[in-house]
Symmetry: D2
Subunit: 368 residues, 4 copies
């Protein structure tokens, strides 16, 4: 269980690091959307290993194949199955993992829960698992853009202690993609890249923060009380490997303010109800208010480091383990498309939910 996400635009991912591949089935995609592999591959390319000098040098093309759910280039309304074959599989690099638990990885917990684990490459705990999410997210993004004009972006705003402030309303995807760390602030990006390269040289690793953004989201998406939009976003983000925190709008920083200081005043702006500030992060009471949705996701430093660390083996004996093989010194650049994908999946699901409950004849044409 636990491998399905969404209620109406529902994805189920599958696959281990080694084996037949990784994939996803999307159920509930509306029909007649133009779709082929070229809609999906670019996001997978932004996620894949080997794309730059600051990510793992593993060589995997991660070429996606759509196996079902489309006909003559358009979606059928039936399940869309997508598959990426596994390629660069060097099990020998992982042989020590068969008997020793990597610290701060999920080796021990998988072994304890299931009594078995696919140790080569981390099996299901490998970041390869996110391929299915990113592929499905690409479909969700296209649908959101085509039907509602929603724009989804993410970028890196912090690497270890190197941080910058990015305006959620204005940064561009072009700026984000203009450097390999995916931080739209070029000057800070350079420092981030240098830091990542330094840590890699030291056999160490770093974490950081990704900013997630959705612009032009219509008013009214989100289902209180449990399926608030921010609650589903929080779940989506905390389901990503290595993520440790989420906050929306003013988030943890907003605590220092009083209510008077923190509240978003409301004004009529050219006939549209707008907030003057956006400390709510585009969501009030679990429902989008038409402002830009923005939130932060904290990613811990990568757990695999090239130094001996204390651990136990599968028999429970104390031992040491040193990272080997090809690993990311920092997950952030590759996390950007993951954050975008999960954001898109949450939003498209709520778009369809809103259509179901409040659409049709019931569609409100104005606030009252």
């Amino acid at each position: 269980m636990g491998n399905t996400f969404g209620h109406l635009f529902r994805i189920t991912t599958w696959g281990e690091s080694h084996g037949g591949g990784v994939g996803v089935v999307i159920d509930g995609c509306p029909p007649r959307i133009e779709l082929d592999e070229s809609d999906v591959q670019p996001d997978l390319d932004r996620r894949r290993p080997g794309q730059s000098s600051i990510v793992t040098p593993r060589k995997e093309s991660d070429t996606v194949q759509i196996l079902s759910g489309t006909f003559e280039g358009r979606t059928l309304g039936t399940p869309i199955a997508m598959w990426v074959k596994n390629e660069d599989q060097r099990s020998e690099a992982y042989s020590e993992m068969a008997t020793k638990f990597r610290p701060s990885h999920a080796d021990y917990t998988y072994q304890a829960k299931y009594g078995i684990r696919a140790w080569p490459g981390g099996g299901r705990t490998s970041a390869r698992e996110t391929i299915g999410r990113v592929a499905a997210g690409a479909v969700a993004r296209k649908l959101l853009r085509l039907r509602w004009g929603v724009q989804i972006l993410a970028c890196v705003t912090q690497v270890q202690d190197i941080a910058t402030t990015i305006d959620p309303d204005t940064f561009t995807s072009a700026a984000t993609e203009s450097n390999i760390v995916r931080c739209p602030d070029a000057a800070v990006a350079e420092r981030m890249i240098a830091r990542i390269e330094q840590r890699r040289t030291e056999g160490d690793s770093v974490g950081g923060i990704v900013l997630g953004v959705a612009r032009n989201v219509p008013v009214g998406w989100g289902d209180p009380v449990f399926d608030r939009l921010e609650a589903d976003l929080a779940k989506a983000m905390l389901s990503l490997p290595a993520s440790k925190g989420f906050d929306i709008g003013s988030g943890f920083a907003g605590i220092s303010l009083t209510g008077r200081e923190h509240n978003d005043a409301i004004r009529n702006a050219d006939g549209r109800v707008r907030t003057v500030t956006n400390r709510s992060g585009g969501i009030q009471g679990g429902i989008s208010n038409g402002e830009t949705i923005h939130f932060r996701v904290a990613f811990k430093p990568v757990a695999t480091v090239m130094h001996e660390q204390d651990t136990v083996d599968i028999e429970g004996n104390n031992t040491v383990l040193k990272g080997r093989g090809r690993h990311d010194p920092c997950v952030l650049p590759r996390a950007v498309p993951m954050v975008e994908a999960m954001t898109a999946l949450v939003l498209v699901d709520h778009a369809l939910r809103h259509e179901a409950q409040c659409g049709g004849d019931q569609r409100p044409t104005r606030a009252n």
Copy 2:
């Protein structure tokens, strides 16, 4: 939609601030658990208004009644319906809310989404909605304690900029309950109380941080990849009114460390696999590792303040609105039982899910 939480221990809450009351139905509770109202009322009493000088002075006894699902003091395995009547209803205090949207409340988004809203007392957006959660959470907590020995606690660690550090492994419920702000650090609690009273006097409000903790959770709960334990906790916490952020273990603060510094070394401790530090927060790869689960929840300052603020009315005209009536200057003390309840609901659901997939004949007796 959106009013059901959980997969196997599934709760559905209902009710508005004004009207017949608020309640919850629990479906999936195991049979033969001793249960009556006295198991539930204490947590509701910790949540209810009027309990101290720093919360809203509204007078509601919030007396729970179990309508179904028990027989001769034990659960039947059938749905448990619980109901709390609404009492202290002064609609007139809210009459201005009928036509004006309160800033940073959900008035506008509800109106825009549904084209209608129950404005007296905030309707479904009222914190009264959490009564159903707290009642169901009390049942979940009892079950967790009886069957698995799990202990769930929460406490306030920060009010505006007044913060303290609490050890998740050792603080006691008694210390938390020894003061009205529910911070186990008595000295800091005094300062927090003073600050809240000051803000109330100013007609203003504050937010803060609640620490959530679960001790003695067995190894193996949680369902990767989407239903990771931390992902479901994040959703649960962000579904609470006024919450703006969640992090687990080292969380946002962990970003400053490198991987070498951050990793939790693993050791055999008297035959049990333990981590030396607990930056993972008791969860690795989405599955509990047997260490104490600890996380933080950020709550924004209460949106209702006793000052005029810019807003629009339901016709879209600019206007001002000033808070009236009886409100909490700080939601934190009453949020503590809410955080505990949602934590319990997440854990009990995963306990049963684990039982289903990995229990029975398949129960692993040791790590391998």
Copy 3:
């Protein structure tokens, strides 16, 4: 688990025969539908005991109260909680049930599954459980009628071996309600009533068949492959107490025909695609085709008879048990509103699902 039905228009029922009452929570109802108790009570009155000489003489008014989800007479889009108090509770009539299992009732299976059961009145296995369904179904029917012009009816077509043929396209609710057995064929109805009264006099009971019908259902409702419209109808009907079978369109009788004889030819009828015959029962491949949906539900003879029958007690000893108290000699007349309610719940759920996936900008305006 198992007390929730539906995906988008989702109902959760609760309650035992004795105790605080029975009820239902509807989640996902569209907002701004006019709704008060008068929309729900008539169907409950058709379901309640004591309504005629051929049903149980128990005296229960089954008065419904809407506790939440409406405001000023319209739905809010929030959960609608409805409650019917238990009244005529004579536990003493059931005392033998505390220790003996009634044959062909669920006493033994509940006891074995849960290790406990609410024996007074049958607890959760009582037909009182269906009150929540009928109440929710009344809301669903109103919504179907208002928004899509769908008409839902049911009637009795067979009591033991006394059968009639009713045309699904033309029989009226008035004809059905014109006699106490709810068979629109008045002559046959008289014979049915006589048979039921005879069996009651003998201390015996009978079963029969209910015809369920939905007219004017739009083309396109239903979600292959698992959530075919007929599959969800089958589940809905087999979830009713005492039901033993379901077939749709030509059903079991269609087996005697060959494909050439059985197929529904398709014709353009005044610009609308119609089938000449309707052996498909209004559904092809799991999706409504615009013809009248019609199906049959078999109900077994009532298990409680006023004669000694072999059984065992809770200790496993062989014994005998004789029915006591006030029971229906035939469940059929009261099953009619139950079948209607479940039909409405299935259809409204699929209406909203269709709106979600195929509505909005994607709505097809013609077949291609």
Copy 4:
């Protein structure tokens, strides 16, 4: 939506008749079950075309490949993805289907619902869709057999008007598989085969009845009130292509009896609570009672016949269409493994649900 089945042992199927193939993802399978392709292929072989002279002569090997979820021959507890490539694709045989709706097929309803359809081979409406179900069902059957000793069988009991009576408690799989129509009554099987061959020669088709059976099911599976075991079986069976009816135990035939005649007396049989007769079909009140579960499924005659039939084209013009290509004259023999698969999927899901709610420390050791 609608392509996922099950709550805890959850399958999602995908694939059209033509395209990349068909497949299934199983989520929730317990870990450490021995599993490879050889556990699945035999059931697919019983389902595949070309297996005998009375089914379609299409040549497809339907070779299954397990892509994920196993390691060294055992299940991991992670999603099990299985895939069967499409092979014998002759789109030209179907070209007329591009513009004309086949009577009593789902061409028109798919086109009307989705505004698009994959016409070659029927796309998603093809019986190839059931490959994923049968593959997943094979895993479910193995698990049921290994862990609970449950035995699942099905057989053909009627073809058009040629019927036999089969004892659910005693017929063998060997007898069923001893002839190509899968009827354990050899003499009747010969007549059935002759009838099917006759109808095929006439360019016509026939339907019939499959008996589904589950033996040795433990007492206590099933979740009232909506997820009764018979309700989920009914849904499962009505979700199969061409199925039109379902009844359990005495079913439609039981209506002729009175309650006294129909009730299953209960006796202590060597310390076990048993029913003397089994008109309940192994389920009482939605919960298994330990007797053999038996039910019937009606399948209509195959819709494709080799004669001109009235229909309309995609522009709405009246026209005629004559079946071409290679089709089954009778779906029954190939439906047997489908019925077994769906039965297994329902039972294993309820087995795990029962484990979750009533297992563990709460497991009842005897009836009281």
